[in-house]
Amino acid sequence: MGTLNLDALSFRYPGRGENVLDKVTLAIPAGGIFGLLGPNGAGKTTLISILAGQLRGATGRISAGDEPLEALRRRRPHSLGLVPQEYAFYPMLTCAENLRFFGAMQGLAGARLRERVAAAAAFARVESVLGRRAGRLSGGLKRRLNLAIGLLGEPEILLLDEPTVGVDPQSRAFLLESIRSLAGAGRTIVYTSHYMEEVEAICDRVAIIDSGRVLVSGALSEVIRDDSDLEELFMQLTHRSLRD
């Protein structure tokens, strides 16, 4: 799969006057981690939702290499994986039942399903809690289960929407290391976060968006110049006024 290209992508929620995304153009190369940054309400989650196929009605073009993303997903339905910022699993089901369910929803069955459940559980280090109800896990384990579910279908494009919110430093370090290793396997990873040090630590390229517009985009080393850091740049571009 080649570069994920977003070309003049715009979106407006029904019944609202302003565009949430306004002609967003980005190039997200394969085999790296792309940091998508912005204050609350900037349009990050909307952009992720459009890429994941949850929101319809966006104008513009999204392509993976030479092929429209929609065509790729029709051809390979599980080429894209999503790890949303919510704990998007069933709290009343056990971890194993959640993994089996979401695996089955991606068309996996039999030995292949068992193999993928075991691999995803091992990758996210949740093997020891497979029999426990997901709702009773700690915050860190819930985040890891969320990640494991997103990896079941071995997606080529992985969308990670604030995957480290509410976890302790140990779990955060583990999650970041895991995500870095996923990029090493040639996947395209879009990563949103409010933690600038995380983005600086694992992302190759970043884009800062606000009010649906791209303020800056490029390689991390190009975006951060002189002696400033990412947080300083972020505050300069998006200003200090509270957003919510």
Partner: protein, 394 residues
């Protein structure tokens, strides 16, 4: 198909771990069946099955009081063991007290309209006595008085005649046959299908609750991102709750056969045509699930789902003859009840259980329920399509 089976299994697992939801679906209708069958048992009893006490106070003397009492007794009316001999009327017992004024017996032989006609009788009735029973006793009193008057007049004419010969009870033999041959509906036969239907429609609660949680927690968005069609997500709810509705039907019929008689009520008479019962149950289930899906799609919060689903069900039950039998409603309310899907379902169940009807008898209610189910499902898909937004993104 594999994905649909996985959705059904997930729904089954989620429901089986929701003890409160299971209690609402199974214990609530069973409790209503037992309580309401016992509470309303007298309302459904007619004639001798229902015992009503009466007393006679005759100022012409105890012999005339005894004669009237013997003639009035029967068909469910029996003399009070505590006769109001001293003229003291109890507050509630006996339910009926006939007061015969002085000179009534002597005046029986006087032709009507002439001077000296019998003075007026007075009937004192318990205000909670059903009007039909009061009317029946009134007719009974008039029949007895007519027989006494005719025999007295014939005696005056020199013809020996016993008043028994003119007793209306002996005028003719009249047998009553009910449609279907199963006799009058008993309390349990009204209440088992009624509260079964009520319980079946309560699948709206777990269906909509889980759906709201799925949307709020992002699982629905994740499933959509896995390219699971929304129609399949809805179908994923139909299978498990159809099985739940069938299980409810089996258990509520069992409650009518075992639990109600165990508490002292009547035993439910089962229908001869189980296939028709299954058909009515299936059609009711589809309508109930369709309602659940529409509420699920329309509700944004658990509170909305609970209020819309719960209040909607209670209103449909109140109007549809579930809580109050339709035959005791005034005509205008009976017409209004025809708009309630629960009334259609009750018509179907009554056609099978009470009237031992055939396929033609359940065709209309089943068609209405299926049409409603299709309309509700279409409305759920339309509402989803209109919103075009599945997640509370931003």
């Amino acid at each position: 198909m594999r994905r649909l089976l996985a959705l059904w299994e997930k729904e089954y697992l989620a429901l089986s771990r929701d003890l409160l939801g299971l209690a609402v679906l199974f214990l609530m209708p069973a409790a209503f069946i037992v309580v309401m069958s016992l509470a309303l048992s007298d309302v459904f009893r007619g004639g001798p099955a229902r015992q009503t006490e009466f007393a006679v106070i005759a100022f012409d003397g105890p012999e005339f009081a005894k004669q009237l009492t013997e003639r009035l007794a029967g068909d469910g009316f029996h003399p009070s063991p505590e006769p109001a001999e001293r003229g003291v009327l109890h507050v509630t017992k006996p339910a009926l007290t006939l007061i015969v004024p002085l000179g009534f017996e002597r005046a029986l032989g006087t032709p009507l309209g002439k001077a000296g006609s019998p003075p007026a009788l007075k009937l004192v009735a318990d205000p909670t006595l059903p009007p039909a029973l009061l009317l029946a006793f009134q007719q009974r009193v008039l029949g007895v008085v007519l027989a006494l008057r005719v025999s007295a007049m014939m005696r005056q004419a020199g013809i020996a005649a016993n008043a028994d010969a003119f007793d209306l009870k002996r005028a003719a033999t009249l047998s009553v046959e009910t449609i279907g041959g199963s006799g009058r509906p008993s309390s349990v036969q009204q209440n088992v299908p009624a509260w079964l239907i009520f319980g079946m429609f309560f699948v709206v609660m777990p269906i909509s609750s889980l759906f709201v949680v799925e949307r709020r927690e992002g699982t629905l968005a994740r499933l959509v991102s896995l390219r699971v069609p929304f129609s399949m997500l809805l179908l994923g709810k139909v299978g498990p709750y159809f099985v739940v509705n069938l299980a409810q039907a089996a258990l509520m019929l069992l409650a009518g056969r075992t639990l109600v008689p165990w508490f002292g009520g009547e035993t439910l008479a089962l229908p001869a045509r189980w296939d028709l019962l299954a058909a009515v149950t299936a059609c009711t289930s589809f309508a109930a699930i369709g309602w659940g899906l529409l509420v699920a799609v329309c509700s944004r919060t658990l509170e909305q789902a609970t209020v819309i689903g719960g209040v909607g069900n209670i209103l449909a039950a109140a109007v549809g003859g579930i809580m109050v039998p339709r035959f005791v409603m005034p005509e205008s309310m009976q017409k209004l009840s025809e708009a309630s899907p629960m009334a259609w379902a009750l018509d179907g169940f009554h056609a099978v259980i009470l009237r031992q009807g055939g396929a033609a008898d359940i065709a209309a209610p089943c068609a209405k329920l299926l049409a409603l189910a299709a309309a509700l499902l279409a409305a759920a898909l339309w509402v989803h399509h209109r919103r075009r937004v599945l997640v509370s993104a931003q």
